[in-house]
Symmetry: C2
Subunit: 273 residues, 2 copies
């Protein structure tokens, strides 16, 4: 049996009782490092807290392992119970559908244990979840690579009066370009897009298109460390949010659509003056 | 302090450790009956299981109470810690934004403890959460009231190739029409829309509009009891799903947009033959 267990968004105490039961019953426990160690302390500390709570050793499955060596984990799960831990919900912003497909092809039973993810916890800002359009991802621009496919999606959402959740780029364990040239992988330090960088890129794309899908005066909500004890929520125009220091990762950004009265009222509590 | 605690989707063991800590530390615990008792056994059984786990008495706050007597609860929360339990996530499909607004106006501190909701747990069917458009609600049609504002929203989503989550109507503690005439409230038995009824209503509206937004051959996913141990997932055309008995509530329905390869592969596992 393979358990895919959502850990939620805050720290080790956001696991559910059902999730904890599953982890404790498993012979082997993996945690997906790609996103998880970010939120849970960014370092070995987060892992040891998890190990202490579960009473189990945890093996860190980084992105390469999940993509390249998933077969090993799946083989183990054919013989005994294995838990694969994922920050947020197993099928939240980062998807593990491919892992499930591979497991099912092997005839392996898969049990999913849900938890909160960015996709529903953003409800905390007061914008109604059923009034969001398509979610977009904002990738880090480089000198030569400035993809802007998010622009048309934001345009579609705004034409319908809908809110847009922007997921901001995370770069973890990317091999550096020079190291690839030298044939030996050396990794870049992890990199998380801030709300400020996202807004700068959004405004650059807006200017390039010369339309009026949004502009520096458009109302947004910036959320840092969603679901954590030190979560930070600020609403304001893009221009104003550019001056806000949201602190440590992870950040996300919502471009606000048409507001209903309760949404408007809620927003007053964290609107920047 | 007012804690708003998400209970998740399955049963009493889907609460998080953080949520359990909060509930156990509170002087008074309310559970929102409007949607909660549905999923947790539909009866007094669900409540006693919760009380046993928490070691606390729980007061059932039905919809009338939440709407009409929330002030009492908020006043209590000004004096000591109160927990308000909500099935799913506090800001999932049913919103409690209004309660938060009222609490904040009283100067009350509010802590939200997130959990899984329908809005993210539907990821389990393999359709990517970021490829959904606006969520729609399908209300029970009556002889004289057949609102179809969902139709245009589905149309918008399909034009963009996006999936549509349809939330199906729940009627709990509705005063019967006759009882209102007699001046004394007597309640109708609870009523939950099945996937079959939803599809019949969708097809009726489609026929009325005479366009081709969707039809009996359109691919859908029906999900019953999402997040529970006996969750049921079936994909197929509207026509085929009409013949499926999905069993006990709650049901929801997804109208599938354009499929990516992994989505397509995943769907094969529960596609009706």
């Amino acid at each position: 049996m393979l358990y895919i267990v959502g850990l939620g968004l805050g720290d080790e105490r956001d696991i559910t009782l059902r999730g904890l039961d599953a982890v404790r019953s498993c012979h082997k426990v993996y945690v997906e490092a790609y996103t998880s160690l970010l939120s849970f302390g960014l370092a070995s500390d987060g892992l040891s807290k998890l190990e202490k709570l579960y009473g189990k050793e945890i093996e860190v499955a980084d992105r390469e392992m999940v993509e390249e060596r998933a077969d090993v984990m799946l083989q183990e799960a054919l013989e005994s119970d294995v838990a694969f831990l994922v920050v947020g919900d197993p099928f939240g912003a980062t998807t593990h559908t491919d892992l499930v497909v591979r497991a099912k092809k092997l005839g392996l039973e898969v049990k999913v244990i849900h938890n909160a993810s960015v996709m529903n916890a953003i409800g905390v800002c007061g914008l109604q979840l059923y009034r969001y359009g398509e979610t977009v991802s904002i990738p880090f621009f480089t000198e030569t690579w400035r993809p802007d496919s998010f622009y048309e999606k934001i345009q579609n959402n705004r034409q319908l009066g809908l809110h847009t959740l922007c997921l901001l780029d995370i770069r973890v364990k990317e091999p550096s370009f020079e190291s690839l040239c030298r044939g030996k992988k050396v990794y870049e330090p992890p990199k998380f897009m801030t709300i400020n960088t996202a807004i700068n890129q959004l405004l650059e794309v807006q200017e390039m298109h010369g339309e009026s899908v949004y502009n520096a005066d458009s109302l947004c909500v910036g959320i840092a460390r969603l679901g954590s004890q030190d979560q930070m929520l600020v609403a304001g125009s893009m221009k104003k949010l550019l001056d806000v220091d949201f602190g440590a990762p992870l950040h996300c950004l919502i471009i606000v659509g048409e507001l209903h009265p309760v949404e408007e009222e809620m927003m007053q509590f964290y609107l920047i003056k």
